[in-house]
Symmetry: C2
Subunit: 451 residues, 2 copies
């Protein structure tokens, strides 16, 4: 990320609407100008030369000229772009009906029951939404009603979504979005990327969260919830030292609050070892939020929770989400579970992630700009540094991302300053996809992109 004068953080590989036009050819410029006229510039666009997508299949996207882009970035189409099974399920349901949950319907119950089976028994109720943002917003509303407290704790560079509430607890937006007074943040990246022994890592993190709880108590807010992305994507992709989130769950319970596991990025088999990220940490999560990959692109989200939390909420208000749990979203989400199960995508993510990580370490391990690689399943982060590797280098990361784009390979970056390459492909990413990606990386090494 880079920060401009107004405190606005830019995506590190964002197109620059002010200065970027001159680098485009006539067709590209016409398309971007058209976009500016219709959508303005609030919404970010990837790359100095934005990619124009018209078609997809498995882990591949295609532009209007037929170029085949290897998708190493998009987790929404987790069971593959244009997945036939999702398509068939949606088409079948649209021939039936697509109304709301104030009528009894089988689809929401069939899928809801199935989704709950993927969780520990204590997480026994689900409410559906349309996005990860709506899920996190609702989870915080429920946590506050249940605990009677207001304070929220997140990591120092967290991103939890775009509603008014969740953007105000998402430091990754930069100072352009004022943080809520009831927020306390905890730096975790330094410890989780350190070489300290695991017991020390866990003790340090526990102490930092307890300090944050104390700060919220002192401020009169109390502690309603710790909300944690279970792969810590915007903090730099931090899968390591599993178990520490479990310590935080115990600590927040003692502080009168609950643990909300944000599984919008880490859920649905992504991290390979377990279906949900918090399970890798053996954490007693009280609520879980999901979104992105849930229905392969049909807007769908959910909040899964211990029933007593929902009962407290139901005693003072109702929650009706018009589109939440609509039959089309439920059928699409069901098809995603079918695909994950029948194609063994959990173990596949584990295996391919391991393969990719090992090959990248072998190729890049000795290069000057390489500062480290971390992964869980098919979620990988590679830290890019200055030419002597003494500091992080977001511009070098951006150069790598741009060069890969020109080679028809899509990745992006993450972390506080955007210097961590982010690989998070569809779960159907294959061994031959790994080969193609490695070949491209090898070319980049030869051309000096890694120093």
């Amino acid at each position: 990320m880079t920060t401009n004068k107004a405190g606005k953080q830019q995506l590190s590989n964002a197109f620059d609407f002010d200065k970027g036009m001159t680098a485009l050819d006539d067709d590209e410029r016409a398309l971007v100008e058209r976009r500016k006229r219709i959508l303005g510039t609030m919404g970010p666009l990837f790359y100095d030369r934005p990619v124009h997508i018209v078609r997809g299949q498995a882990a591949h996207l295609f532009d209007a000229s037929g170029n085949d882009y290897l998708d190493c970035y998009n987790n929404v189409a987790c069971v593959g772009h244009a997945n036939p099974r999702v398509r068939e399920a949606v088409n079948d349901q649209l021939g039936r009906q697509d109304t709301h949950s104030r009528y009894l319907q089988d689809e929401i119950l069939d899928y809801g029951e199935r989704l709950l089976h993927s969780f520990p028994d204590a997480l026994d109720r689900v409410n559906f939404t349309n996005s990860g943002s709506e899920s996190n917003d609702l989870a915080l509303r429920m946590a506050r009603v249940y605990t009677g407290h207001q304070g929220v704790v997140v990591t120092a560079h967290a991103y939890h979504g775009i509603t008014s509430l969740v953007s105000s607890i998402s430091p990754s937006f930069g100072t352009g979005v004022p943080l809520a007074p009831f927020l306390a943040t905890v730096e975790v990246a330094d410890v989780l990327t350190s070489k300290q022994p695991e017991s020390q890592v866990r003790a340090t993190l526990k102490q930092r969260f307890e300090d944050a709880f104390q700060k919220l108590h002192d401020g009169g807010f109390g502690v309603s919830a710790v909300l944690l992305d279970q792969i810590f994507s915007s903090d730099g992709i931090l899968p390591g030292a599993t178990g520490w989130v479990g310590d935080i769950a115990q600590a927040v319970h003692r502080a009168g609050g609950i643990l909300i596991a944000d599984e919008v990025q880490s859920g649905f088999a992504r991290t390979g070892e377990a279906f949900w990220g918090f399970q890798r940490h053996h954490a007693d999560a009280d609520m879980v939020t999901t979104g992105k990959p849930m229905a392969n692109g049909i807007p769908t989200g959910a909040v899964i929770y211990k029933h007593k939390i929902g009962e407290a909420f139901a005693s003072c208000t109702r929650y009706f989400n018009t589109f939440g749990g609509n039959p089309v979203s439920m059928r699409a989400a069901g098809a995603v579970l079918d695909e994950i199960e029948e194609r063994h995508l959990l173990s596949h993510a584990q295996k391919i992630g391991e393969e990719l990580s090992a090959q990248l370490l072998q190729l890049l391990g000795g290069t000057p700009r390489f500062r480290g690689i971390r992964h869980a399943g098919l979620f990988l982060g590679i830290d890019i540094g200055s030419s002597d590797s003494t500091s992080s280098d977001p511009m070098a990361a951006r150069a790598i991302i741009s060069k890969l784009r020109d080679m028809f390979i899509l990745i992006s970056s993450s972390g506080p300053d955007g210097s961590t390459l982010k690989l998070r492909p569809p779960l159907v990413f294959s061994s031959s996809d790994v080969d193609r990606f490695m070949k491209a990386c090898s070319t980049l090494v030869d051309e000096g992109y890694f120093g």
Copy 2:
């Protein structure tokens, strides 16, 4: 609505999860118990005997036994349940791709351009979301950044959605959801249902809003926005005295704020006279929010705005909504516009609404419990009173709704106490649908439901 001890407002025709089980037969009870086990009781369910929907067509829904319910309530499936054109568009797009707006894509631009054409020239930019709630939440965030003020004004019984922010400015939830300190509310129903001359109605309302602005200025909040549902559904369905919203637009501009037209219920040809509700009021809206009927059930929403508001927002932050404007939602939304245009559903809504309203007035006008009927296009409200018509009677309204449900006709209620019958059928509601509904109402009159 009824209010329980905790201040929770119930939908007036909600199923009672505590007391309602005994009235159900074995199959119904098993299904509701299953729902409780999976979804809990946060989400409301309609009717003492909930309806189990499995299929739909045009303005008809069908249960598992094949009973044909006439749908006089659901606006989401505005171009009809299981609309073949929407189905075909979605199926086609799912065979292509369904990724996000950080790549260039034709679908979002084609639909966005088309949507903007339905607005006055000044409303020249659009951002897509997944729901009316996300739209209103974003609109308020944008209004605050643009104006630099925090205060919000809504009507006394407004409903604007379910995020933390918009639920805190939705008095219709009752005291179980605390209202925001920066909120001022204005009672409009008494004046808009009065027999006062239009000029007096307009002058009174303008004064009340100016008082609200003053209150917010005095409180140090300033005025960021007036947010108004353009049919005032939860205030009792108040289409009358067109033009007064235009006065409020002028007044809020003078107070340093903007007007946001909430068209989640009133938009997309619903009100018959104009495509958007605010156009009936000749109001200079600065932003417009949409949701429910936009894509016939595929989760889709939008914020349409004057470009300078978006530029102010873009200068301090970005707005990226993962699913917002996804190609499948855009294609579904395009098919909805195709249907509205080619089947002339705007004039159809006007004509059928007039027909229905006139026949209802003729049938019910002389009955003891009838207290008034109001409509714009296919959005009708009928006030139900006590047996001598001297006061409103939500229980009598509930009895009518329940009796109609037993006759396989779906309606609901609205207004501060739930005593206003709410008719808001799919736009494809036909003359023969009107006949069936009127025949049922005639039976209810004969059986004494209207006194």
